[in-house]
Homo-oligomer: 93 residues x 2
DNA sequence: TCTATATTTGTCCTTTTTAGGACAAGACCA
DNA sequence: TGGTCTTGTCCTAAAAAGGACAAATATAGA
């Protein structure tokens, strides 16, 4: 989810991975992996990416979090029940 | 969530932590911490506990997973949005 | 009250897992 | 070709799991 979004944003900005990599001070392979959900995106990097792509961090954060949750529950038999329980729990608070 | 449930089940069975600890081959402090959500419950342990308490693992698994999700999203600003995204994602599949 | 048993809490340690990232090499265009 | 992107492997460092132990607290019964 997040990876695809990051790729879209980068392309919308007309940037090439090398430029993003330079900004984050990592190599291009790392960016590629982020965009393919093969490496987790740290909050630090997320913030930089938001700035670079001219979106607010708040636009990215829900997707970022959803990604983490998804990874946790995928392949789990009771994911739906679990998610609904958590949703209730979180909503009532 | 899970901790409370485990405690209830244990008491319903009239067991004392020492007995459960013996069954899982850990010490009582460990059981106590599980019941207070201070230590994660491994799947291996969960299975043993289900058997010991005469419930099906399926009764425990959703709670077990919900606990993990909850821990991931609590204190997160966009937990609700994220959970809803994941729920949609998982449901459609 | 005294005491034994049950539980909780804090600290510590070791092992396993995950994050974060580099590098090299291959693939894909154009 | 040259630039872009992808993929695989490797490494180190940080974090989490799993668990022991000791000490402190509750708690129920004699």
């Amino acid at each position: 989810m997040l990876g695809e979004k990051l790729k879209e944003l980068r392309e919308a900005k007309g940037l090439v991975q090398r430029q993003v990599a330079a900004d984050l001070q990592v190599d291009t392979a790392y960016i590629s992996k982020m965009e393919h959900n093969e490496k987790p995106v740290s909050r630090k990097h997320l913030k930089k990416l938001a700035k670079l792509y001219s979106v607010t961090e708040n636009e990215l954060l829900p997707i970022w979090l959803a990604d983490k949750v998804l990874q946790l529950v995928e392949n789990e038999k009771y994911s739906i029940q679990a998610l609904e329980m958590v949703l209730n729990n979180v909503k009532e608070k």
